[in-house]
Symmetry: C2
């Protein structure tokens, strides 16, 4: 694993994005989002995804020049069309609208259809938290998980994000898919030849297993909480597709290089609109640490340290990924 200085990483991504057809301003914004994701330790959804992102642009699934357009709105609720633009730029814009509405109405809800993979889900939660807002967002995905009782992947693992701001900037953040392990995590365990710490899916014969290779082969990961996560994933799809007038999971191509036109929902809630902001979150964190030897963390707790370490030592990037990124940038 290489360690690339943050600024060099961003500069290289900007050059690559310019070559892929992005305007200078949009190339800068998109490069920041990819680099920040890796800086924050979410290695599966940052620079490691950049070559695949480039392929989605090259094959026309993602349109680098397209921006979202508003379709309809009523008070604190708006619906936008993503026009198949870059998913992270679209999502950043959409959460931005939700935050603006929350300043105006106390809460804002903005949906977007026909958008693309937003890369790191947590980005948009943190975007809200940095504005002092509680952020909630979710997306549907291509079909990659079977519903409880079935064997065919017609559900998405539909990630969900909730972020709550803390005054010191060390925000609460959950960001997870409705499958017990993401495909990226399964790939990682398989590459290291390790078994999963808990059962993570079914093998081809429908038996629950902790073998990541068997799950990658069956394409049948386990939903979190068995029947509960299956129902939860389905509901997120129903809400996202209903409110965005966009595609549902079963309408999205199951080919990762053709996954396009997903539906997303962004909510921002402004605690300051109700009075002086409560610090009960800090008390909840303190309440977790009443057991002397337990390793209990709040969600998001490790982020500031990871970010600081990577900024100091350089951003970890896989050697092959870096080579590909430099080629896309015209530097190799």
């Amino acid at each position: 694993m290489l360690r690339i200085p943050y600024d060099e990483l961003v500069r290289t991504l900007v050059l690559a994005l310019r070559n892929l057809g992005f305007t200078p301003a949009r190339a800068q914004e998109c490069a920041n989002l990819f680099a920040e994701t890796t800086r924050d330790g979410v290695y599966t959804h940052g620079v490691a995804r950049f070559p695949r992102f480039a392929k989605l642009i090259e094959n026309g699934a993602v349109r680098p020049e397209a921006s979202p357009t508003m379709v309809s709105g009523f008070g604190a609720l708006e619906r936008w069309d993503g026009n198949y633009g870059p998913g992270n730029l679209n999502a950043w814009h959409t959460m931005g609208r939700a935050i603006a509405l929350a300043h105006q109405h106390g809460i804002g809800c903005v949906t977007i259809g026909y958008t693309n993979h937003w890369m790191r889900a947590g980005t948009y939660g943190l975007q809200a938290a940095e504005s002092g807002m509680i952020g909630i967002c979710f997306t549907n995905t291509m079909p990659n998980m079977a519903p409880w009782g079935g064997n065919k992947s017609v559900l998405g693992n539909n990630p969900l994000v909730i972020a709550v701001p803390r005054a010191n900037g060390a925000h609460f953040l959950i960001d997870f898919a409705m499958s017990q392990f993401s495909y990226g995590a399964l790939d990682g365990y398989a590459a290291r030849g390790e078994q999963l710490p808990v059962p993570g899916g079914f093998d081809k014969d429908g038996n629950l297993t902790s073998d990541p290779k068997a799950i990658l082969e069956s394409h049948h990961p386990l939903p979190i909480g068995y029947w509960k996560g299956s129902a939860f994933a389905m509901m997120l799809d129903v809400v996202a597709a209903t409110l965005s007038f966009g595609q549902a999971t079963h309408q999205v191509s199951p080919d990762p290089l053709r996954e396009a036109g997903v539906s997303q929902v962004f909510l921002a809630i402004n605690p300051a609109a109700l009075g002086p902001v409560s610090t009960i979150g800090d008390e909840i964190i303190a309440s977790l640490h009443t057991e002397p030897n337990a390793k209990v963390r709040y969600p998001g707790e490790r982020l500031p340290a990871t970010r600081a370490e990577n900024m100091e030592k350089g951003i970890p990037v896989d050697e092959d990924i870096w080579e590909e990124t430099r080629k896309l940038a015209g530097l190799a």
Copy 2:
């Protein structure tokens, strides 16, 4: 199990609630909520809970005469104080406010602090769906689940509800706690001498187990998705307590007969505010049924049939519970 005609059940509950200090109108509304819960097949949170509800009133934890009062509001966001009133009446009122705000602003978010157990969570999701709204709500609870990595119950299992209306009235509905099994479900398996279908918690030595008795003894149920459900439950507590200015889980008494003053959030979103309402939900249901032999259901699918059967045959009520309820009503 007895089968009580619906009208007789409601009449009996009204008499009991009058004896407990409810005004006629509030006794009627509260009786309806208890009876509808059992009618819909959520047996653990309907009439079966009524004697415990009566005890909470008798010991002062629940104040039968108290109504919620508004503390602050800004646009589509409001904060109310539950004044320790009956949790189901408070929750019904609060979701009602969220629905009214959603008519006005497209979305409404109403929080309530110092309220009490809302009994059946799904009630308020269905309330929104019956008004054509997407309903989302959650509550914190008394401490009853350990965080991932810990052994002490400082988290609640904090139930979450999402409901999406369908034109035919057979609404989508999820309503579940963040523990793999509720304490009510564990009690049921233990009483029948059955093992859980999947591991549901830890025994006193910290080993994962499917033995309901061992989990009831350790008070250490498993969060859905292991670390994921633990983080999710914590976030729901943080959001509910932050926005309501109410108590967090660790501040609520762990004694079920003293559980009082919880915090809740109610969201209603009005799909009709964005244009003609999408029917993508029906297409999602159809997409689930592409496997000939799979038993795949959408969340909420069984409800209409259960409701119809119970209305026809009578509402199932445990003999002891019925005896106690009739005593509270002055009929036995």
